[in-house]
């Protein structure tokens, strides 16, 4: 029987994976942190390791480095679970020697099982099917599919029942963060919020609640960046964190229907006269697989807006010929864009931005230079809200 070691700090997630693997004919063990995982590896002698990159005590990347430094395990398959939005961390995992990297969001238990089968073989051999020479027998596809659907539905039901308590804990954590008087206190509360959001991401991913998982994953990446670079903690980023927690509450109510999962296609317009800034905005949107059209000339943008529906508009404020505020006022007169979310990108002070943005009909603003992940989070919130709560 093939042996799999799961190194994952979330007990719900790790137990779900372990149970799934055991049911499917593997011997599976769980370690809740990296150091324990390394010790268990040496005694359990697994055929593969499933590793979360974000772990307490020792990071997932350091765990990979340690595994690769030990001769007995230098070739051991390591399947890494990652957060799609933690791009640099994924690169580090590859460089450290990961065998495969998969996004938690895209890898519910049945997908993980398939990946393990492809990587190390093993698993259940169905007695219902005669074994053919050279061809591994499997359970009938319909039986597997039905069992997986039931399994995930049960997971989803359990998770949905826990969402009110989760939301209350997130709001309490946010409140503590906002009230923090010192940087040390801020970092402590950001770290706590990070751990909670990380758990939401993991649990929503295994339950197939993709929209919740996506927003939680993006927020997790934003919190990680704020923790590691506290100079980026400001009114703009804190407002984005608060809006994300608020919107998670919205998704907990309206984003749990199994037929309404996935990030819906969206049409986004970016207007900025400066090419490097445009490129940064497009990059940030692509993190969430959001496609956009970008233009440098506000008059050209107005023409596009006159002829096309957009789900979200990002506007630079200071542009030659027409300011972002002027363009926003004009677009609000277009029947197509009376309710289209508009986010200003500005270097102006918080108070000036809020006042000018609201007077011009804008919905939101983000301070320059923005964190790429902050803009990603904002875009996800506006796009998902627009799809789940169409403008009246």
């Amino acid at each position: 029987m093939k042996k799999i070691l799961i190194i994952e700090d979330d007990q719900i997630v790790s137990n779900v994976y372990r149970n799934k693997l055991v049911v499917e004919g593997y011997q599976a063990e769980v370690a809740l942190d990296g150091e324990t995982g390394l010790k268990m590896m040496r005694t359990f002698q697994p055929d593969a390791i499933v590793l979360d990159l974000v772990l307490p005590k020792m990071s997932g990347v350091d765990v990979i480095k340690q595994i690769r430094s030990e001769a007995d395990f230098s070739k051991l398959p390591i399947i890494v679970f990652s957060n799609t939005y933690l791009t640099n961390l994924i690169q580090d995992a590859w460089k450290a020697g990961a065998t495969k990297c998969v996004s938690k969001i895209n890898c519910p238990p049945k997908e993980l099982l398939e990946l393990i089968r492809r990587t190390v073989g093993g698993g259940v051999v169905s007695p219902a099917l005669p074994k053919t020479e050279g061809v591994p027998a499997t359970k009938p596809a319909a039986v597997v599919s039905e069992a997986d659907a039931e399994f995930q539905a049960e997971l989803r039901k359990t998770l949905i029942a826990s969402l009110p308590a989760t939301l209350a804990a997130l709001r309490a954590g946010l409140k503590s963060l906002i009230k923090s008087g010192t940087e040390v206190a801020q970092l402590k509360h950001i770290h706590e919020l990070f751990r909670r959001v990380h758990a939401v991401n993991g649990n929503a991913s295994i339950a197939g609640l993709v929209q919740i998982a996506h927003l939680a994953a993006a927020l997790e990446a934003l919190l990680k960046e704020l923790y590691e670079k506290p100079k980026n903690i400001n009114s703009s980023t804190l407002r984005t964190v608060a809006a994300s927690v608020d919107f998670l509450g919205f998704l907990f109510e309206r984003g749990t229907r199994p037929d309404k999962q996935g990030i819906p296609p969206a049409s986004i317009l970016v207007v900025d006269d400066e090419i490097i800034s445009r490129r940064a905005i497009i990059y940030a949107l692509e993190k969430a697989q959001l496609q956009s059209v970008s233009v440098e000339d506000p008059n050209a943008a107005f023409k596009l807006l006159s002829e096309n529906q957009f789900d979200l508009v990002f506007l630079d404020v200071d542009m030659p010929g027409m300011t972002g505020y002027e363009l926003c006022t004009k677009l609000r007169n277009l029947p197509l864009h009376k309710k289209t979310p508009v986010v200003f990108i500005t270097v102006l002070s918080d108070f000036e931005s809020r006042t000018s943005s609201m007077m011009a009909g804008g919905n939101d603003f983000i301070a320059k230079p923005f964190l790429f992940i902050e803009l990603t989070v904002k875009a996800l919130i506006h796009v998902l809200r627009g799809k789940l709560q169409p403008a009246k």
């Binding site: 799609t84 690169q91 895209n106 770290h191 800034s277 940064a280 270097v347 320059k368 790429f372």
Partner: protein
């Protein structure tokens, strides 16, 4: 819709680790580098060719803007100073030129006020910082090459 989240590029980006509680003691003061390489690396997914292309674009654009700024300061054209400094600051901030940006913001501020009191000096400081950025990036992107100005 979904694209492969996996990136196997071989550049050396910053290595964020899982957050862990930090000690309360303040970190020792360190000199701020002219460029936050984390941002450049992230914006290009750590791809060496993409970084070079972006840096070339920045140099081309900024060299022109500094020439425009110098001319505008000499001609005492405050609005031109404001406009060019604003654009240059936006791109520089996006790429993490942390020491360069405040100088450009100061020029933008003086331009907006219509009074270019110390603009000539601030411009000189900005031009000097830009040279440091060029040297820094040349070293970062060509680590094997001697730093510019080293071989005299």
């Amino acid at each position: 819709m979904k694209k492969d989240p996996i990136n196997k590029d071989e550049m050396t980006p910053a290595a964020p680790t899982a957050p862990s509680p930090k000690a309360d003691a303040p970190a020792p003061a360190v000199e701020v580098p002219p460029v936050e390489m984390d941002r450049l690396n992230e914006l290009t997914d750590g791809n060496a060719d993409s970084i070079r292309e972006l840096v070339d674009l920045f140099f081309k654009q900024t060299s022109q803007q500094l020439a425009q700024l110098e001319a505008a300061v000499r001609a005492n054209k405050a609005d031109d100073v404001r406009r060019v400094a604003h654009s240059c600051a936006g791109a520089s901030a996006t790429l993490g030129m942390t020491r360069f940006v405040p100088l450009l913001r100061e020029l933008e501020k003086q331009g907006a006020s219509g009074t270019l009191t110390t603009a000539a000096q601030v411009y000189e400081d900005a031009a000097r910082e830009y040279k440091l950025i060029q040297d820094f990036l040349a070293t970062q992107l060509n680590p094997a090459a001697p730093p510019p100005g080293a071989a005299h």
